[in-house]
Subunit: 275 residues, 4 copies
């Protein structure tokens, strides 16, 4: 693919990105947690629940890029402190979004993985800054972006010296209105033939419908994805954002058990070239 | 969903569409064969191969809706006779496209399933005509169409008295250029909550890339699809259309074995409400 | 452009399509009238009004391709008779849609121009049939179609022997929801560099908003369009379809006066190569 | 429109944004110049030419957001100094892009208008920062963004205290490949009914084709746009970016003369409510 150097499949066979001992690309990653950090109680309760269900990373937003300037923008530093407490209690590494290049350096002290959101995929100043940090980066696909543009954004990060990029497909914008976006699951095998970087799937923001999260998570596993990022809220009806697409801890635990069964079945199959 | 009556989930729990003893919606359907009927030798050789690999229906186009009037338009009646011979020899029921309402009545004498292609999804005269026939209809999603529009097209067929509609997601048109179209796999669980009709997936035309067909077929099974339609050609490099996206019989046989293993594993899992 | 022969700019400099003495491509065409024929009174009253305002063709649908089978499908033959009466009274030639290849031959006896709607752009059987008729064809762009695909559909008609094709840009499907579709006005100069056929604009169906019809009509004239097709209803609030996007006769008359002024101003400008 | 306060049409009738004496929204703005600042000679020569042709602002990028990290990224500070020289010599105010919130404060010392590019439309940190500056902001529409999202980004700037936002439609991403993007000209009247802010059109980046720039510029004037931003390069074939879409000074001068003629004709027409 044009212009790709460090991100190209030709340079490495496969990269595993290590996050607190989890080798993403070798170990299946399940990142779960609420859309935004709202309170200590909410975060700790949800973190305990997703840990118990088998998630191996915790997500939560302290900085929320919202369409309207009048919508809840996140708790900022206070939110990061709550996330740190959740890590301390559960041992789960923390994935959290950073939206301003000036924040990268201190957010990196709280976060185990720095998330670049879909609206910032081509925020090149931000990419360069996380490229200079020593934290793995979760790079979400722009909702309007081609695979080529996305991989070039990974290249921005890699070329600054940070080799640890995890790609995340989160749906692209189409004319369909039944789902929030259209999950492009074919990005999983496509990305795997273009780059050595791991790729995970976000079934929550792509579909925007609780009923579709389970089937799309199983499909992602079957397609060869390296992990999932799923919104879980201890009390979805009271969530400050995305209230209607977060799983409850119980539904999440049920999904986790099905994912584990499917994953361990697939891992026992003889290896084939095209996977 | 607005205006849906006969196609609505509210009217039935699940419909199985019976094609030559195969209950689509209960039995997993694998429809395989070449894009277009080119010769008797090509069709018979491919039909034997896909039968041996475990496909339970055979596809082949005698009428090809092509972008240019100067491209190969199919063998017409002669192609249908070749398809009939393939059925006679292999016992596989025949799925073939009809593109003109005047042809429905006699094509239905050769075909076991009448296919409506993506460009004709809203060809309402054609829909009404297949709605009056006594053959099951494979209704492909328009590459530009919402789920609501698609289901309303099924409603056109049902409202003429034909209850046997199989839906087929074959990719929607987006800005992405790496794949031919974007496979909207979330349509599988979405359709299952909106209608009682079965839905199958076309991984060939949606991705347009041989390397993506395997992973997307497995993902379709995991997402709960009722079947697949896959292009197979005994000699892809000589195919008169879509030469670069047909599987060889060998690759297809390998895929079938993986699909069977996955499908039988999933069928053993305890039933869950959201599937 | 690939595969284009008869439609290519290279074969002719410019084609004017003659409709009842109006040379579309040389004379500016304004086609006005209701979405569908509902009654004789409605049609005659609207036809008189648009004639008085300066329209030079009358439109009205007797066959309506509707999303739902339960929506009003048009008056059929009875609608065509009403349209013929309107022509008799006003002298305006009639533009009406045909949706079934079996109808082309007798609809052509009532219509001066056969319209192919956006959903039927790639209904190749229908294209071939209108290609065999001796009536000019108004070929709307598929809402999902590229310029290349559209011109190949014109080629289908031309290659059957009918040289009289008028192209009509009517909006493409995008993610924007404020407008019904997105009017691709750049198609006007693009089409003019690719083909010798005339192109008109449909500001009604592309925008779906009365307030945008005036500005987009003026813009179409400035971009070099050869005409417009505009929905006018003598009593929009009672229209059986598209009630909220039809102009009243008064608003239409006002727009016509502005269009005439702009058009005659532009026609006085010295000729320049890139127009 | 949901959430809009300061940007809403309901709060003001019309805003004129004053840039060095030009009241954008009342005076027609023509912003011309190269994609990127390459050298003093290139900038000065082009600036003199566009000034002579009648442009009233000069554009040039010192910071270039490029798909690949290995593409030319702009001259930075050195580029800004060259732009300042062009202003000094020609008197034309300078429009230049800022891509990092840390740069806003010092770029604002060189620029008369701060441009936010399409990839940064939802870079909320950057929006807040330009909202705190005392420079007018040219806010390009995201190539994937709805009118509602775009206006909410204007609201981000206004809500920080900066009332001077000029909107710029530059094409949206669709499936069409003949043009670089699809110019959504209907955004002009749509924006005018939703907000009091002025809106200009970028015919260069939307179409990506020199031959379409003239017709789309005239169409923009007819649709009621408040200005245009056009790429001009003194030697397009040697441009470091977008070489094939910049006008030569001569072509630009010819276009300006046609624009002036059309604009002064339209200004003489009696005022009508829907414009």
């Amino acid at each position: 693919m044009k212009n790709l150097k460090l991100a190209s499949r030709e340079t490495h066979e496969r990269t595993a990105v290590t996050v607190a001992g989890i080798e993403v690309g070798r170990n299946f990653a399940v990142i779960a947690g609420p859309c935004s950090v709202e309170s200590e109680e909410q975060v700790l309760e949800t973190a305990r629940a997703v840990k118990a269900a088998g998630a191996n990373m915790f997500r939560g937003g302290a900085f929320k890029p919202r369409t309207s300037p009048y919508a809840f923008q996140g708790l900022g530093m206070r939110g990061l402190r709550i996330l740190a407490k959740a890590r301390q209690e559960t041992g789960l590494p923390i994935v959290t979004e950073v939206i301003d290049p000036r924040d990268v350096c201190w957010v990196a002290e709280f976060a185990d993985v720095l998330q670049i959101g879909t609206r910032n995929m081509q925020n090149f100043s931000l990419l360069k800054e996380v490229g200079k940090s020593n934290r793995p980066v979760l790079l979400k696909r722009g909702m309007y972006s081609t695979l080529e543009e996305w991989l070039n954004c990974a290249e921005y990060i890699l070329s600054e010296g940070n080799p640890d990029v995890i790609l995340c497909e989160r749906g692209i914008r189409t004319f369909e209105t039944y789902t929030r976006n259209t999950l492009d699951l074919s990005a999983v095998p496509a990305i795997k033939e273009l780059t050595h970087l791991p790729i995970i799937i976000d079934p929550t923001h792509s579909t925007g419908r609780i009923s579709l999260i389970g089937p799309m998570s199983l499909a992602a596993v079957a397609a060869g994805a390296d992990g999932l990022i799923i919104e879980v809220h201890h009390n979805p009806s009271e969530a400050l954002c995305d209230a209607d697409q977060a799983l409850t801890p119980d539904t999440f635990a049920d999904l986790m058990s099905r994912l584990r069964t499917l994953k361990s079945f697939l891992d026992q199959q003889p290896c084939r070239g095209d996977r």
